[in-house]
Symmetry: C2
Subunit: 479 residues, 2 copies
């Protein structure tokens, strides 16, 4: 049997796609599946298939997949459930290796649908044809700019997101994107009639674009295999998981939605811990956590130095403590050293470091950060996006009408570059709070491009650090 990479590459890196049930009616899945890849600039061939059309969206249409003269890697089936068995048989005949079955009306829809699902599984079995779905919302693969899902193409990135819920998964990937987290893959796994969460996990472990794997799951078809695989894979890549259906009513809903049985939350928690999965408390937290795991070095322990102005330090420290992270007191020498850098109006240095609203010079925050990273009892730092006090509060900092202002910006950018180089130098993570809204300010841009994660709230910062600490602990436990 082919390796998982050979089996799934035709789905995620196809050289050509046939869309069965292709349509020229806007809003129809058969339309979207032709239009989306065209729009994102997918470079392979797209063959619309529709028994009644000669052309769809400017592309030549075929009556049947068997009429396509060239080789086809991937078949996207956007036709009603009852016609699926015949289409699948034609796919097998054509030698197709990958398919995505969008339509519902299968196992989730009762006994008749279940019989239909069993039939298509039987048709594909042993033929080398593997398939996603049915009853799914498609996939996104950054590798080939391949958008075959309901939502607009996500921003490419290093997070692979596997979702048991289609619509909600698509929505989550949209908000994740709006918050700046890029996706390497999005996979709406649907009913998992053939390919299961475990198969995708195995594939993504090998996927070069994917650095962190995020799951939204409700229940497992092959839980044992999933957790056994996970335990191996976390040696190379972190896995973050959010599980729906933890409450009684939530589990009831899930039963109709994905026909998953909840099982006890304690059991699930235990399995996650044993396999070294990082569990997210809210769905969107998965992405916040993943973003830090994409780029930051792993901490050796859970001792965090916090920098923040006033309440920011207080709240960040509270959030760290509530997640079991430590914010240890500094030694005498460090206190003295910090005192010489912090502004005179700042209170006596301690952890969290209160810089009282502003540093004296552009370089000071970077200097304090470096001092803290160099301490052998500090494993990581949570601080602000470094903004020069000379830039802060002046005109919108993109203007350069004023020489002093433009000099201040240049200095701030240089300082930001130095700041962004620190995680590598000390092999310890830095997590930052935005502390101003603008995404396009040159300092935020500089450090984001250098891979420093930037968040909106102190609690997000603490969760990001927590994820790094948890993953580091899990790695140490299995290695």
């Amino acid at each position: 049997m082919n390796s998982i990479v050979e089996q799934l590459d035709p789905i995620f890196k196809p050289k050509s796609i046939a869309v069965l049930g292709a349509s020229d009616r806007q809003g129809k899945w058969g339309y979207l599946m032709v239009d989306r890849p065209l729009k994102t600039g997918y470079s392979g061939a797209i063959y619309p298939v529709n028994p009644n059309k000669d052309e769809i969206l400017g592309l030549r249409a075929y009556r049947s997949i068997l009429d396509i003269p060239d080789q086809v890697d991937l078949a996207v089936i956007a036709a009603p459930a009852p016609s699926t068995p015949q289409l699948m048989q034609e796919c097998v005949k054509k030698g197709i290796k990958g398919a995505i079955l969008i339509s519902g009306g299968f196992a989730e829809a009762g006994n008749k649908g279940k019989a239909l699902e069993d039939e298509i599984v039987k048709i594909a079995k042993g033929t080398g044809l593997r398939f996603v779905g049915p009853n799914c919302m498609g996939i996104w693969s950054a590798a080939g700019q391949l958008n075959l899902c309901f939502q607009q193409a996500p921003k490419p990135g290093a997070i692979a997101f596997v979702s048991q819920s289609g619509t909600f998964g698509g929505y989550l990937s949209e908000i994740a994107n709006a918050r700046g987290y890029g996706l390497a893959k999005f996979i709406s796994i649907g009913n998992q009639a053939d390919l299961t969460a475990s198969d995708y996990l195995e594939y993504l472990a090998e996927d070069k674009e994917t650095r962190v794997i995020v799951f939204y799951m409700e229940g497992f078809k092959d839980g044992r295999r999933f957790f056994e695989l996970a335990r191996e894979i976390i040696k190379r890549k972190p896995i973050v998981i959010y599980k729906g259906g933890n409450s009684g009513a939530g589990a009831r809903a899930m039963l109709s939605h994905t026909a998953s049985l909840a099982g006890s939350d304690n059991t699930f928690e235990g399995m996650c811990r044993q396999a070294g999965l990082i569990r997210a408390e809210e769905a969107l937290h998965s992405f916040e956590m993943a973003e830090a795991l994409v780029s930051q070095p792993l901490p050796q322990g859970k001792r965090v130095a916090v920098m923040g102005s006033g309440g920011q330090g207080v709240v960040t420290t509270d959030a760290c403590a509530s997640l079991g992270l430590e914010v240890p007191e500094f030694d005498e020498e460090t206190v003295t050293g910090l005192k010489s850098i912090l502004p005179p109006h700042a209170p006596p240095p301690r952890n969290p470091v209160d810089f009282a609203g502003s540093y004296r010079t552009t370089l000071d925050e970077t200097s304090v950060t470096e001092k803290l990273l160099s301490l052998n009892y500090i494993d990581g730092v949570i601080t602000n996006v470094p903004i020069s006090p000379m830039v802060w509060g002046l005109k919108p900092i993109s203007t350069d009408t004023d020489k002093a202002l433009s000099d201040a910006i240049t200095a701030a950018i240089q300082s930001a570059e130095l700041f962004a180089s620190l995680p590598k130098k000390y092999n310890k993570p830095i997590i930052t709070l935005r502390f101003r809204r603008a995404d396009d300010d040159p300092i935020t841009k500089t450090i984001k491009e250098a891979g420093i994660p930037v968040y909106d709230t102190p609690e997000q910062c603490a969760r990001a650090m927590y994820a790094l600490v948890k993953y580091a602990e899990a790695r140490r436990a299995v290695e």
Copy 2:
């Protein structure tokens, strides 16, 4: 003694302002305090005061506040701490009724600063001059478009935000704004040398623009008065509170920051419960909760109907359950009624209602919502922003090149208007999930303008409903 309104109106609704320590150097507080109100269109007179300038930012400057020929309501003092006593004496002499003391270097800075603070308190006492600060980041008052704080003017709204932390409070008000929550007031209370959290609370209870009061607090100067006042005020207005310094290390930080003693979290929790305050778990949650409290009717109980596609319903239900809200099963008749509206591919109706990705017609979501609100065992509904399935997934919905599309949009907007009228009709709240990114889509706009709160995540929706339920319970307890 004057009423609290008479005492504080000169600060929040001044007809004229003097800025002591006014400066023409960008980035200086003395510059900002002249520039900000000019920019926001404050309509009163602004008198810059600086011993060495004749003009600042195009306005005539005065050597001393005593040289200003006209009456001045509010003095903003942006001068170094040591010069403050003399400036305050001049303010008293001038008959000023309100002042905002920006600079630090007072009680928070040690014994010498404490002596200085005692001195200014003594100067103002009994003269009718009340003041904000010192050591604060100013105020925003939507009433007169009066921006006297560090950050850009917030979007006007119905939430008053009182913050013990200046920089962090300002930052929070910025993110709150970025997320669409408008502010009636922002008050950075600083050292509370004169006016305390309790005074602002008393004032805001009377303030017409303020419908919900949000506090970021670390500790109280007069906790007993605060909670006694709160217990009365919640009969008219909800109060949401986030407290910093709950962890050991957080409390340590707080001690240097606002010289507040933490006290036990259990005691605080008990006081909040007794006074009927709604406590937020994360700083930003306060605003999410407040937004629902601004506009929605209060639920009679805690029984929620949830509508959502697949995982959305599961996650929303989980989140409700974890906050102690109930998601009860429907009766037979309701199930039958829902079945006739839901699309044929949806699973059998239950609570949460899974509409399986799309409704058949534009009106269906509104019909289902109305049916649920009409049930005597349902106290509120969490659902999506109603988006017509005919609009969804088509071209960006603002285009109108296509007749069918523009008809669909018109129908969707009409349906959204009907939807938005339901809370008033049934006197029960509706909370919505955005379910698409665009803030400017006409349906989201329609319902937001009608006061329906719109959130990004299922967990935010559940927290918003929780806040309504908690406030309703608190009101019933004190009435």
